[in-house]
């Protein structure tokens, strides 16, 4: 009984110590985060250019990935599965591209957030907390996004970057 009471006091102390630390979530910034405008949807030609650049990078490295490109409305425009790429990554590739477009940032941002302990990110709609989803830009506006999946996140990202950098202006 005594021990229980002591534990209770210790818990209350721990709570009050926590309460004294400022919660970073309470911070109210003046400006909007990720305030990047949406542009016109990417054309099929540009989407395929990005996709083929990504596939070329993956082939060069002997990897087998799925690559998806969505437009500025986060809807699928082009997709390709390399010979022998894993089936589970068909949906993941599209999901990464879609999440990048919907949230106007690389999916790596979610991965970093979760790694830092911000698990609430996983409760947001249609989030995927894994790198390998990157925006396609034209003149400072979002025209679409590319998503890669099938390898490690780091492999996916390398291929994704090759695709995005082939078209980003």
């Amino acid at each position: 009984m005594k021990r229980l009471a002591f534990a209770g006091v210790a818990f209350a102390l721990a709570l009050s110590a926590q309460a004294q630390q400022p919660n970073p979530m309470d911070n109210v910034p003046d400006k909007m985060p990720n305030d990047i405008p949406y542009g016109t949807p990417v054309s099929l030609a540009t989407a395929q250019h990005a996709l083929n650049a990504a596939l070329a990078e993956s082939t060069k490295r002997g990897w087998k990935l799925n690559v998806a490109v969505v437009d500025s409305g986060a809807n699928l425009v082009a997709f390709a599965r390399q010979d022998g790429a894993q089936l589970g990554s068909i949906q993941i590739a599209e999901h990464k591209a879609r999440a990048a477009a919907k949230y106007r940032r690389e999916t790596k941002a979610f991965e970093a957030g979760v790694q830092a302990g911000n698990n609430y990110l996983l409760t947001l709609d249609d989030v995927i907390a894994s790198r390998g989803g990157i925006l396609l830009m034209d003149g400072g506006k979002i025209v679409g996004a590319i998503g890669c999946s099938g390898g490690t996140g780091s492999q996916d990202e390398v291929v994704c970057k090759a695709g995005a950098s082939a078209v980003n202006k």
């Binding site: 030609a45 596939l55 699928l76 425009v77 082009a78 997709f79 390709a80 599965r81 089936l87």
Partner: protein
Amino acid sequence: MKQRPMLTLDDCRKISAAAEAEAKKNNWIVSIAILDDGGHLLHLVRMDGASPFNARTAIAKGKTAAETRRSTLVWEDRIKGGRTSMLGMPKITPVQGGLPIVVDGTCIGGVGVSGVQSHEDEQIARAGIDALK
């Protein structure tokens, strides 16, 4: 052990390019999907101006053709013929425009097209598959 042919990415590119050429020749705007024999997406193209719905429908038609090993028109006709209980079949899209890809008597995948009239969608899918020969 039994062996069967399998679609490569190069095959898909050939099919998709031929299908797209058929669509362009007729000034049609469509989405073209190619799936393997397990109904898993291999390749997708949504032409400029085709809707997100077209992309989704092309995949659904191609999946039905690949998984059931028959044209989606077969399903459409059976239902139209009065067998309405077929609508209850699991996850089928019984609308013309999806064709199985048959090589050496084996179904190795499917092509689905959506964007114009259903018989025109099928014409595009056929043109794509013919490019394999």
